[in-house]
Symmetry: C2
Subunit: 225 residues, 2 copies
Amino acid sequence: MNDSPLLLSIAVLGGTGREGKGLAYRWAKVGYHVFIGSRSPDKAKAAAQELWKMLAGNALVEGLSNQEAAQKADIVVLTVPYAAHRETLESVKDLLKGKLLIDVTVPITPPKVTKVQMPPAGSAAQEAKQILGEGSEVAAAFQNISHEHLLQDQDVDCDVLVTGTSKDARNETLKLVSAAGLTGWDAGPIENSVILEGLTSVLININKQYGSTHAGIKITGVNKT
Amino acid sequence: MNDSPLLLSIAVLGGTGREGKGLAYRWAKVGYHVFIGSRSPDKAKAAAQELWKMLAGNALVEGLSNQEAAQKADIVVLTVPYAAHRETLESVKDLLKGKLLIDVTVPITPPKVTKVQMPPAGSAAQEAKQILGEGSEVAAAFQNISHEHLLQDQDVDCDVLVTGTSKDARNETLKLVSAAGLTGWDAGPIENSVILEGLTSVLININKQYGSTHAGIKITGVNKT
């Protein structure tokens, strides 16, 4: 991986969804080369075109199949619904060797979205690590951000907790969190992903109880230096 | 249970520890009758005496054995280290019928405190429910508060997420959160306790990574009415 944002490239698999498109927009805006991946390359191209227009043509953003996007990019971000999690990972598994996967997936299946229910692996991110096996690093991040905020150029009042299979994986992910204009925190090993993913159910619950739509979290009591 | 804070009584089992003593202090200060429970009644009496002096004698606070405290109180709060969780619950199990248990326990065992490790029941609070069986309600709360702040009369910059076996259990707990001068949130069913308890490991991890000692969380994006 390369330290220069101008040369790094990012694939956003499932990037036609609202969360993925919002992240792709933020990274393309600051100069990353972004590949939007989808099972439907046509939909991916349409989403890429939409972002390119939003950024007045000042962006490197392409729509591709999930496989092509995973192959071309330095870092791969997964933003599919949980129902498509395993299938999508299996379809790009061999293309992710030597790469970092950032898993944004929340393992909730409607209508049961207010109760934490983790897969046998412990979390979606740990499941991803099991599927990919040795040779790929996995990080988890961005589960708690409201997608509406990402496509708007406004401050997001929600921090991003980052876990990962190594300190390098977490640091690389934290760079992309900052690049997206968000505040990130190293939340420890991949086993802690259950907290990030499960917080989504807690926040949905709070939205239901208190009539809100954008409950988020902020870390307090720490001065970042 | 009684709605009048003047009549309600609270047992804090393991109340000679720093977290328990801090909570006992805050509740005694606003008029709750507080029973500090300990395996050692002498230590409980000493802790009660200490709080009574801090409150200049304007407090109803007594030191007792865990069993006596559990028997006398309307609501029972458990603040023991995880190593004493099961044993303490077994010792008061029959005394908690018809009562609410608020479990503050975090299932971490030093030195592995930065990695989430839940018991087979899913969380300490779910384990408590299994041990107590039918006839007792269980809530989980206060896992993420730094104990240093509780014994001082300063604002605590950390919210309290509350889960529980029923809406009533959560509401009763949320009243005690407010009474302690803290901001609480209904975080849903008892199955979500893993998030509250596991967040402690995430916050310890953040303290380690960023050189802080009091990392906490705040819920954002919600206007409480």
